[in-house]
Amino acid sequence: MKGYREITAGRKPFKKAYVAVMLWVVGRAIQAAGRVDKSVKAEFDTLPDGFSFSLGVEPAGPYMIVGKNAKGYPKYGGWKPGGTRIDLKIRIKNIEAAMLLFSFRESTAVATARNRLIVDGDVPSACAVIRMLDIVEVYLLPRMIAKLAVKRYPDWTPWRKYMGRVRIYFRALLGY
């Protein structure tokens, strides 16, 4: 029939790259925060031994994987799920939803309410992971932006917030 054509819609490389960088930062920050912040460590302690979770974009990434190491601390596991067993997958439905999340136009709570995410796995673990993500966002972001990302901005002492921020950034960049 006249006018028919088949189209393979292309890619969004820049948005994908931006989200990949953000996921890398978040993954490394969780690893760092596990050693810097007691609350993050306490949440991580509720997760079973050998637990791992991923946060990524459907259908083909980018991803971020974090696992629980033998000593019970979070360990950044890279950006390729590969053959690793993942206990909890937080799947963002598409790259635009990921952009809304990582440009803070939608908080995690709003993104969940708007069905932009699929949480695949144990619900109690998902609750712990989301709480950890919220704490990490407060460390990573200036107050004005963090308030867009979390439901309730916590009332921390300046020491905890600023010292913690410096230590987490330092550890995240260096990867330990």
């Binding site: 029939m1 006249k2 006018g3 028919y4 054509r5 088949e6 189209i7 393979t8 819609a9 292309g10 890619r11 969004k12 994908k16 459907e58 259908p59 083909a60 439905k93 598409n94 790259i95 635009e96 939803a97 809304l100 708007r114 069905n115 932009r116």
Partner: protein, 396 residues
């Protein structure tokens, strides 16, 4: 609130509405088991770039889509056959229709043909023949439409098909798709939504679930008409109007046609006026007439039309009239916003007075609830010259 002795309700339509709704489409299609959707549109009827926006939404999805953007407005069985050939030969497994009007009728008939593997749809003109769900069918609305897009009806030439399985599985309402478009078309859609929804609420056999959809539609139109059609053409208001049309289409699929739909469609067909404009034009006169002469009590309509505050503060016995006055006000507002493009009476719509008899005759033949020819003519006369449905006409 009264629950009737018995009723049924079915709405298979999923609604996704809001920012980046189109980008959720690939994952929704995946959940429906779709791998190769076919997009149908009429490029000449869509805003420039509209189809491009939809294609872009598939980026990173890995999906290949087919696109047919020259579907004729006036279609027949030959066109459907051609579409079906494309669908089958290119191994598509879902239809996505962009924009309202006749194209969605074509899409519904196409989906029926490819799902049931038939060419002749005549047997399906009887309701109840279709028993199984069809292949996935998605609708992406714009500000152009008849208000029947999400309904169970499809029209092709002189055939009317009716089945809940014809309704779309998914409606994706995206702000980028509601921009642009002529004001008259948008107004017609809004009035179709309002008229259709009010018609549902007038049904003698109440359907509480159809009413919930209808009330939401009425509220959205009432609150957003000015914003959507006025100079600002506010996007969120336009989204609300499109939402209202979607909801009205779902609601009216669950109740038999009432006077608004019957008379609106007849007048629209006879004088080539969009059905929605006719429905909106006739609505307050029909409400008024049925309230005064047939004891219809439309008090509850005031709630979605005017909001909680006005509803609660209005004495029970005055609510129906207040609701009707609200509808008149919407009509007048629309008339002024559009610089007179949207008629408020049949006279302004350039319907000759002597033709009112023909409308009344046809209405009686097709069956308008509760009124015969004389009453129908009286009602139409009120709608022609805007004469008030006088208190002294009220029966004892």
């Amino acid at each position: 609130m009264h629950v009737p002795e018995s009723y049924q309700f079915f709405c298979p339509v999923k609604v996704n509405s809001g920012s980046k709704a189109l980008e959720q489409l690939p994952s929704e299609l995946g959940a429906l088991g779709v791998e190769r959707p076919l997009i149908l549109g009429r490029r000449d009827a869509l805003r420039r770039g509209a189809l491009g926006t939809i294609i872009t939404a598939f980026k990173e999805s890995g999906m290949a889509v087919g696109l047919l953007d020259a579907v004729p407005a006036d279609f027949d069985v030959t066109v459907v056959r051609q579409l079906a050939n494309v669908y089958r030969s290119k191994r598509h497994d879902a239809v996505i229709t962009v924009g309202g009007g006749s194209i969605i009728d074509a899409a519904k008939v196409l989906n029926l043909c490819v799902s049931e593997d038939v060419e002749d749809v005549m047997p399906y003109t009887r309701e109840g023949v279709l028993k199984t769900r069809l292949k996935p069918f998605v609708f992406v609305p714009t500000m152009t439409g008849t208000g029947y897009e999400t309904s169970k009806y499809a029209w092709m030439k002189n055939l009317t098909l009716s089945s809940h399985f014809l309704m779309p599985d998914l409606v994706v309402i995206d702000p980028r798709m509601v921009r642009g478009g002529a004001t008259v078309e948008g107004a017609a859609l809004a009035m179709a939504a309002l008229g259709g929804a009010a018609d549902v609420c007038m049904c003698r056999v109440k359907n509480p679930l159809a009413d919930t959809y209808a009330y939401a539609a009425i509220q959205y139109v009432s609150e957003n008409m000015a914003g959507a059609m006025g100079r600002a053409r506010d996007t969120m208001s336009r989204m609300a109007i499109v939402n209202a049309a979607v909801m009205a289409g779902c609601a009216l699929s669950n109740v038999p046609p009432g006077p608004v739909r019957r008379l609106g469609t007849i007048a629209g067909d006879m004088f080539r006026i969009p059905d929605g404009i006719c429905m909106g034009l006739l609505l307050p006169y029909i409400l008024d007439y049925y309230t005064v002469h047939h004891g219809y009590f439309m008090a509850d309509l005031l709630l979605p039309l005017a909001g909680f505050e006005e509803y609660a503060c209005t004495a029970h016995g005055l609510r129906a009239q207040r609701a009707i006055n609200r509808v008149y006000r919407i009509q007048h507002e629309l008339f002024h916003i559009t610089g007179g493009a949207i008629p408020r009476t049949l006279k302004e719509a350039q319907v000759p007075r002597y033709m009112l008899q023909d409308i009344a005759e046809r209405a009686v033949m097709q069956g308008v609830p509760d009124i015969g020819y004389d009453e129908c003519l009286t009602l139409l006369t009120h709608a022609w010259d805007s004469s008030p449905v006088a208190f002294d006409e009220k029966r004892g």
